[in-house]
Amino acid sequence: MDWLESFWLTYSTLVLSVGTNILLALSVYLTLACGLLTVANAAFMGIGAYTAGLLTVHAGMPFLFSLFFGSLLPALVALLIGRPTLRLSGVYLAMATLAFGEVVRILILNAEGITGGALGLNGIPQLTRWFDVALAVGLTLYVLLRLARSRIGRTMRAICQDETATELMGLNVRAYKLFVFVLGGALAGLAGALNAHFTYFISPNEYGFERAVEILAMGVLGGTGSPWGAVIGGVLITLLPELLRGLGHYRPLINGVVLIVIILYSPRGIWDLLHPARGSAGAPATH
């Protein structure tokens, strides 16, 4: 038990980061599985983090309330921009969501009066416990796995395969896409809210392009065949720098090399390596 205590003292932040990164990877998994490349989740994470952080610090709200609103607000924003944005596809969707993300970041940066701008928001109390994160991850995984097996899941797979045919069958494709997008936004917001409460301090630049790229890398690397792929991706991306710590100066270099090697070796992600998809069930026909 002593060992566990000292392990936790040193590595608690790392473990919690693994958890929130898994949540982020899961938030893109939903849309990524269909080749819907939405890069907005970093911005949703930021909205969630700031909402929850501001509520706790300035309004003195209890933790669970902050978490709730931290997930709700990004979901609402996703609802708002989802409708027009999801009409786009492929790389255009990616760029639109990227642009949206940058606009959000700049707005947070300039809304100094509320968010503190570049000076960031500090003094966020350490309220996230390991079971908060574990619960969030566990619940999300459970819901997503059930979803995959449900009618909604089958509809999503149908949309992936052939959007036009699915629409012709009378199913409201737009509504399903929106649902998935909004759910992703809520998850990313939750991850942001949890993260804010174990890192004391947040600033707008953490939720920009670099973060968006990192989330994407987690999703693609882990594999989009199943939510477990997101878990793998989240764990890998978070732990890799730590595992490479001994390499000192070469750490970022090796990090990049590992990324390339994994993608080259298994372009569909690591999950595909373990559970090869029969046929191209996940590959959209039109890209």
């Binding site: 990524l32 080749g35 490349l37 027009p84 944005t85 009409r87 786009l88 492929g90 790389v91 255009y92 990616a94 760029m95 639109a96 990227l98 642009a99 949206f100 940058e102 606009v103 700049i106 707005l107 940066l109 300039n110 392009f209 790229v213 994407l216 890398a217 693609v220 690397l221 989009t224 100066h249 070469y250 970022p252 270099l253 990090n255 990049g256 090399v257 590992v258 990324l259 390339i260 993608i263 080259l264 372009p267 569909r268 191209s280 996940g282 590959a283 039109t286 890209h287």
Partner: protein, 293 residues
């Protein structure tokens, strides 16, 4: 103030357009979002810088060194990363993630070798003359950049319209399968495209490094953001669009600083991008895709 800002906008537009040319080429033909383009851009600048510092090379030689280096990287990029992924019918996001990895590798390698600080070209290499016409000031270098952007665009367009390689490229961009059926060596063309695009990126790197007096490992990042915006605004894969998009963005940024407020400079760029995408996804100047093969 207006005349000077107008000139500022044209110079900035030229800078953006130059960067976007290579970027849009890779997307148009290879259908890949090359997130390593910023790193190649940066490599071109460093290559030229080393040539100038250690071999006292004059500017034209330094640029040739940059061209050689970035062309090599472009070749390796296709041979080692894009081609294998094509062969395995990888999902279209896989090459993009690989280019993310490549960008990290190149950036940290350069940072390890040369340090993270800003470096600059030796003063002698840079013609420092400033022209002053009617109260407006512009340097020869800026004029050269704008000129070069137009020149390169002209060359590329001519190449695509009038040469056989150009026709083949357009065929491949439209439909690789059809082109292959028609006997076009698609793989070779992909390789050529990657080389040309990287070479353009490298040249852009040198010129922009001279313009801004700053060479540093992460210099590709902000350019990449803007480059993405330019290419979308102008229409992905459209050469003219890259130029027009570049100037459009340059003007939008400069005038938003001049008349709205400098804090909103980037918000305007990306906000515009967002709106354009919602209203006209093919870009302001692109053609609507007839069918997506």
């Amino acid at each position: 103030m207006f005349p000077q800002q107008f000139v500022n906008a044209i110079s900035l537009g030229g800078v953006y357009a130059l960067f976007a040319l290579g970027f849009t080429l890779v997307f148009g033909v290879l259908n890949v979002v090359n997130l390593a383009h910023g790193a190649v851009f940066m490599l071109g600048a460093y290559a030229a810088l080393q040539a100038a510092l250690y071999f006292q090379a004059p500017l034209w030689a330094a640029i040739l060194v940059a061209v050689a280096c970035s062309a090599c990287v472009g070749w390796l990029l296709d041979k080692l990363i894009f081609a294998p992924l094509r062969a395995r019918h990888a999902p279209h996001l896989a090459p993009m993630v690989a280019t993310i990895g490549l960008a990290i590798v190149l950036t940290s390698a350069v940072e390890g070798f040369f340090g993270a600080e800003n470096l600059r070209f030796p003063v002698e290499i840079l013609p420092a003359d400033t022209l002053s016409l009617a109260g407006v000031r512009v340097t020869w270098l800026e004029l050269r950049i704008v000129f070069l952007a137009f020149l390169l665009m002209g060359v590329l367009l001519w190449g695509l319209k009038k040469t056989r390689v150009g026709w083949a490229l357009r065929g491949v961009a439209e439909s690789p399968k059809a082109a292959a059926l028609l006997g076009v060596n698609v793989e070779a063309l992909f390789r050529v495209t990657s080389v040309v695009a990287s070479l353009l990126g490298g040249v852009a790197g040198v010129l922009i490094a001279l313009y801004t007096n700053a060479v540093f490992p992460h210099m590709g990042q902000p350019m990449l953001h803007k480059g993405i915006a330019v290419v979308i605004l102008g229409g992905m894969g459209d050469i003219r669009g890259a130029l027009l998009g570049g100037f459009f963005l340059g003007f939008a940024e400069v005038f938003s600083v001049a008349y709205i407020g400098s804090t909103m400079r980037d918000a305007v760029a990306f906000g515009l991008l967002f709106i354009v995408l919602l209203l006209r996804p093919e870009g302001l100047f692109g053609q609507a895709a007839q069918r997506r093969a």
